[in-house]
Subunit: 154 residues, 2 copies
DNA sequence: TTAATAAAATTAACATATGAATAAGGAAAA
DNA sequence: TTTTCCTTATTCATATGTTAATTTTATTAA
């Protein structure tokens, strides 16, 4: 590319994959997940099952719709993940008596203890990441990304 | 949670999904992809097919290994995606005469014109996002995330 | 040179992502 | 009240994510 294009370079550059925000988000997430995958594999959890269990452990009983949003999983996927987690006795499915369309999901005692047993190892990895990049930098990223997430709900 | 826990709050809070960097990255990406999905659907491309085509259009002929890294796709997935793109005449597969284990992938003329035809619409969406959040903020995010990505290859 | 080893791509098997369609219950308008 | 429309969850079909195993070709060690 020669000098005549200088004016429009900043626009043309936007199409480059190296400067693509969506691709960069994907790569950054992958870099981080690399540290957690061995732990999840050791306990036979997929990323998604782990997210569902954490959300239920944190928020308490919850309908499938909210759970899907919180865990960042689409409902068709969640339906199957729920079945797996129920088979493994980590969560319980109840009916909503006020609205029979809904189902109420809740973490079981077995799910709770599983969560607690993994938590220390998980936190250790988290702290090593925090140490690696610096707490300030991570908080800065979290703040900036939250702005993106919250934009549509203004 | 009461005041006695104040000291350890910053550590305990780390386990909250709201402060999870990996989940936040996922949600932020989803917020952005929402703007692009209609365009990709209109042209019958999946996100991954689109990434592969863009990378090949940008880097020129490339072996499957490099392509997988650049497009952020695992090689088993890439194998299938490549077959689809070849069937649709968007890319071409050649052999590497120096190393017969490798394959060389290249965008076709049809692929190039498809890319060019979508590019204006894509750029328009990109600019609206840039306007929405501000160029500075986006560049700041890109820089911070790139640090995370580049950490392992120090 | 031969045997062992490593690398590149593919295949296999199972889980999730995505969009469309379906089923069933609830809410609103006629 | 009944028809219509909306919401919630599920199912279906196709594509991709993930790990392990396999195939083919290079490379290295013996």
């Amino acid at each position: 590319m020669n000098k005549e294009n200088k004016k429009s370079d900043s626009l043309i550059a936007l199409f480059e994959t190296k400067k693509s925000l969506t691709i960069t988000l994907l790569r950054a997430r992958e870099s981080l997940m690399m540290s957690f995958r061995p732990l999840l594999a050791k306990h036979s959890f997929t990323e998604q099952q782990w997210r569902v269990l954490r959300v239920l452990g944190e928020k308490g009983p919850c309908d499938a719709g909210k759970l899907a949003t919180e865990a960042c999983i689409l409902s068709p996927s969640l339906s199957r993940i729920i079945n797996t987690l129920i088979e493994n006795n980590f969560i319980i499915k109840k009916e909503d008596k006020l609205d029979k369309r809904k189902i109420i999901l809740e973490i079981s005692d077995e799910g709770k203890s599983k969560l607690e047993s993994i938590k220390p190892e998980y936190m250790a990895i988290l702290k090593s990441i925090q140490k690696r990049y610096g707490e300030d930098k991570i908080n800065k990223i979290l703040k900036l990304l939250t702005e993106i997430i919250d934009w549509r709900s203004r």
